[in-house]
């Protein structure tokens, strides 16, 4: 299953906190598509997810400048 989460309006620490809580609800193999802003969230969310043992499938720029989509597999 693929789920989505928009954290473009969030700030530290809720960017990764919300991602982590959302990932916690998923089953192994599910994918979470996280929409986030460049800067701190873009630098830290994929890195933190990978460090926690999740698989970062892709990081792609969204249609709006400064916004990115990050696919994370549990």
């Amino acid at each position: 299953m693929t789920y989505s989460l928009d954290i473009t309006k969030e700030h530290c620490p809720m960017t990764f906190v919300k991602t982590k809580i959302e990932l916690g609800k998923l089953q192994s193999g599910d994918v979470l598509n996280v929409r986030l802003s460049e800067g701190e969230p873009l630098e830290n969310v994929p890195k933190s997810a990978a460090e926690q043992g999740f698989k970062v499938l892709s990081v792609t720029p969204a249609e709006i400048k400064g916004i990115y989509n990050v696919e994370i597999e549990k």
């Binding site: 309006k9 969030e10 700030h11 530290c12 620490p13 809720m14 990764f16 906190v17 919300k18 991602t19 982590k20 809580i21 916690g24 933190s48 460090e51 926690q52 043992g53």
Partner: protein
């Protein structure tokens, strides 16, 4: 999750019952828990206000003086700002500004801390002085501890006093 990550630990002594300092406590706690730290929050003295079930001003506590303290101190919703409190107007203004700027409010941080399984502990000695019991606190409070147990829990990690 790697072995190294699992062994990371942050313990915070939450001494202050101030809105801004509690915001710092819960920001650090949720941020650390989200990146895989074991997080222990040890609430003592004014910090105990943050974990009361009754979040407003209420005569919580056994005995006359504890009840008076309970009314004056209140719970999480009554937490004052450490500077420029303006008789309680500032926390309301802060909450408004935080919501407006999409920064997590203290209440959101507390519920995130619960969701991330942050460990909440209460100080036995301070509870005794203030006439408080474990049943006065939110159910997430795992245990009532003394210094020795806290030192054991925090051993091998980072400890902060806020």
């Amino acid at each position: 999750m790697s072995e190294e990550k699992q062994s990371k630990k942050l313990s915070i002594i939450a001494f202050s019952g101030d809105f801004d300092k509690l915001t710092a406590v819960f920001t650090l706690a949720t941020g650390a828990a989200a990146v895989g730290y074991e997080v222990n929050l040890f609430f003592t003295f004014w910090g105990l206000d943050a974990i009361k079930i009754k979040q407003g001003r209420s005569p919580v506590g056994k005995g006359f003086l504890p009840k008076v303290f309970g009314i004056f101190m209140g719970g999480l919703k009554a937490a004052p700002v450490s500077r420029l409190n303006f008789l309680g107007a500032s926390p309301k203004i802060f909450r408004y500004m935080m919501r407006k700027k999409n920064v997590a409010t203290l209440e959101e941080l507390v519920s995130a801390a619960k969701a991330l399984k942050v460990n909440f502990y209460a100080c036995e000695m301070a509870m005794h002085i203030l006439g408080l019991q474990k049943s006065d606190f939110i159910p997430e409070v795992k245990d009532v501890l003394g210094v020795a147990t806290f030192l054991n829990l925090s051993e091998g990690g980072q400890t902060l006093f806020i």
